[in-house]
């Protein structure tokens, strides 16, 4: 097993009882990167981030340095929007970064604004995270008073307000264009890309960089230690470290910062310092490698490194760093149903294939689970899936405005391919139960 000894880059203050305070943050190197950056040109700060090859940690894994460069030249103002809406099932890291190390995030926000030239930043925190909102409010108030945020930061000509904003309960608002709609005071419905790529036309149709909390939290370390030091950790296309939340049927579920690209799923799930293996005497049935939107992995994928390219090629994604482990006691139909229900509930309703399709997928799975399934239902599930995401391929094609619709197809494609007999058995049980009761019962087809 590989447990590398790279330093903790973003979770170093998680166990520090005063790490969230300004004093605690300053005592452990806080705001030194900001001071250093103010002595560099914005372009030089941007270059360090490019050298670091920092991949976005919000799900899509797009390199931050490249994204920053996509803003059209000479179009001002530019905005920064921080995505703290964490709500992909299985994901638990941004909340901790906001609660336990709020100043690290604020410093990251400042570095990004400085490098890109953003005139104002909005820190959008999920509505349900009252404690994170509180910690960030206290931290921002401290940082303003100390001269780190606001007008003429540390006496320089760099000025930026960081505005704390709360969401109000909607998974889809985590999607960047929906987040922008929400920030404009609207229903959180995604915009079509193109033309509404935020870097070109985002908040108020101005160039806008949307970055995830964890992405930005890496910036202070990168500036202090250099992009090269960051890129020396990890492998291939995935540099530095990354936080993974390992949940489900493991002995010691937890949130672990590990070296990207070197550590494997087996390490993460079985190493005693991480999740410690499958609970009790149980065995692995399946695991979700990157949040509910990701296709499932199995035993044969355990030795894949936690590296974007390798996981993409194997047919899934590292997504939001959420590893959900299911042992052999897990009912595949039930697990699949629960995830699909999530997407059906959270569909914003803007596109027909997603709104209708996810609802039908849920209804069909529900009737299979409830014992009213029909033999034709499995093909029907695939047919509906194909309408939402033609070809049911990976990476998914979409007939929808955003990837939420196709995300609902992932668990179905995974579970049905791997555990088809379980679905068939559920349907067969239903048929037999009906046949054995009484010939007077209405036919199965009249039931649902």
């Amino acid at each position: 097993m590989t447990v590398t000894d790279v330093p903790k880059i973003i979770s170093s203050r998680f166990d520090d009882p005063v790490g969230h305070t300004l004093a605690g943050y300053e005592a452990t190197g806080g705001y030194l990167a900001l001071r250093q950056a103010l002595g560099m040109s914005p372009a030089a700060v941007h270059d360090e981030v490019k050298t670091a090859s920092l991949l976005g940690r919000g799900g899509a894994g797009f390199p931050a340095g490249v994204k920053w460069g996509l803003t059209p030249a000479d179009v001002w103002p530019r905005y920064l929007v921080v995505n703290g809406d964490e709500s992909e099932p299985g994901t638990y890291k941004d909340r901790l970064l906001m609660e336990r190390d709020p100043h690290q995030l604020i410093e990251g926000v400042l570095l990004a604004c400085y490098a890109v030239g953003c005139g104002q930043a909005f820190l959008y925190v999920r509505g349900e995270m009252a404690f994170a909102q509180e910690r960030l409010a206290v931290a921002l108030n401290e940082a303003y008073a100390a001269g780190y945020v606001g007008k003429s930061i540390l006496g320089s000509d760099f000025s930026v307000d960081v505005v704390l904003t709360w969401g109000a309960g909607a998974y889809i608002v985590g999607e960047e264009t929906a987040l922008i709609e929400s920030l404009e005071g609207n229903r959180g419905m995604p915009r079509l890309k193109p033309p509404f790529f935020p870097a070109a036309k985002g908040l108020y149709l101005q160039p806008t960089i949307v970055n995830n909390v964890e992405t930005l939290a890496n910036l202070p370390w990168i500036i202090t230690n250099g992009g090269e030091a960051f890129a020396a950790m990890g492998a291939e296309g995935s540099k530095g470290t990354r936080i993974f939340a390992v949940s489900g049927h493991v002995r010691t579920p937890g949130v672990f910062e590990v070296e990207y690209g070197v550590t494997t799923f087996r390490d993460l799930i079985y190493a005693p310092v991480y999740a410690g293996g499958i609970r009790g005497d149980h065995t692995l049935k399946a695991f979700i490698p990157g949040g509910a939107s990701a296709p499932w992995f199995f035993e044969e994928h355990l030795d894949l490194p936690l590296e974007k390219g390798a996981v993409d090629r194997a047919g899934s994604m590292l997504g939001s760093g959420a590893v959900v482990v299911m042992d052999e006691t897990t009912d595949a139909v039930k697990a699949c149903l629960r995830i699909v229900r999530f997407f059906a509930r959270e569909s914003c309703g803007k596109c027909t294939p997603c709104r209708e399709g996810t609802t039908w997928l849920e209804n069909i799975l529900q009737r299979i689970y409830d014992g009213y399934g029909r033999p034709s239902d499995l093909d029907l599930l695939l047919d509906v899936s194909d309408n939402i995401s033609p070809g049911i391929a990976w990476p998914p094609k979409q007939t929808t405005i955003c990837p939420l619709g196709p995300s609902a197809v992932s668990p179905i494609a995974s579970a049905l391919t791997r555990f088809r007999p379980e679905f068939e058995a559920a349907i067969l049980r239903a048929e037999e139960a009906r046949l054995s009761v009484s010939v007077d019962l209405p036919k199965a087809s009249a039931r649902a």
């Binding site: 103002p77 009252a130 606001g150 000025s159 404009e184 005071g185």
Partner: protein, 204 residues
């Protein structure tokens, strides 16, 4: 109470002033109204509409998209139990059923004494702490059925004053002192930010 109190109007104006466009403050003001009244009233929505310069229908249009906003009275304590995948695997549904029996209500309902409302919610980002729940958006990790009963008893007996009534999220708000404020940047502010124009030497 339904319209915002004078104190809350002051808070609302401060919030609006932070955004380049008043409408961007809409969701924040809805939270403020819900903090005051435990839910969002029609009166509050029309007042918010006036404050940010849109119609009441637009306010409702936005508000109704977001699950946290309640338009009918709910319990003093909103008990949100997660049944999404990680919690499902470790007893989230059983916890929900236990809560239903204990409180005698199903998700969406409020107990007759007006104390509790239950919701069956999606992932609340505490997946490694399953099964988990929130009471008025405060976390309770790895909750057993006995612990749930204790929590209910404590809330009934008024022993949990660390949990404010439904509607209150963070108890500390952001406050930007006037002399530290950089100011909202509107889309009309098309000047290049000063620090982006300064010659390299001047920055050093």
């Amino acid at each position: 109470m339904a319209r915002l109190t004078p104190d809350n109007v002051t808070v609302a104006r401060e919030i609006i002033g932070r955004y380049p466009r008043p409408k961007s403050a809409l969701i924040q003001l809805l939270h403020l109204a819900q903090q005051q009244d435990g839910r969002v009233t029609d009166e509050a929505m029309s007042q918010i509409a006036e404050m940010v310069g849109v119609t009441s229908a637009e306010v409702l249009g936005t508000a109704s998209f977001y699950e946290m906003f309640k338009f009918e009275p709910v319990g003093r304590y909103m008990v949100n139990i997660c049944t999404n995948i990680s919690c499902l695997l470790l007893g989230g549904e059983e916890l929900l059923h236990h809560a239903e029996h204990r409180l005698g209500i199903v998700p969406g309902q409020t107990t007759a004494d007006g104390l509790f409302t239950i919701e069956d919610v999606e992932c609340i980002a505490a997946c490694t702490e399953a099964p988990c729940l929130q009471v008025n958006y405060r976390y309770f990790h790895q909750i057993t059925h006995d612990q749930f009963d204790e929590l209910v008893d404590d809330l009934k007996a008024g022993r949990r004053d660390d949990i404010p009534p439904h509607g209150t999220l963070a108890r500390v708000r952001q406050h930007i002192p006037a002399d530290r404020r950089a100011g909202a940047v509107t889309p009309e502010d098309t000047d290049v930010p000063v620090w982006m124009t300064a010659p390299e030497e001047a920055q050093a």
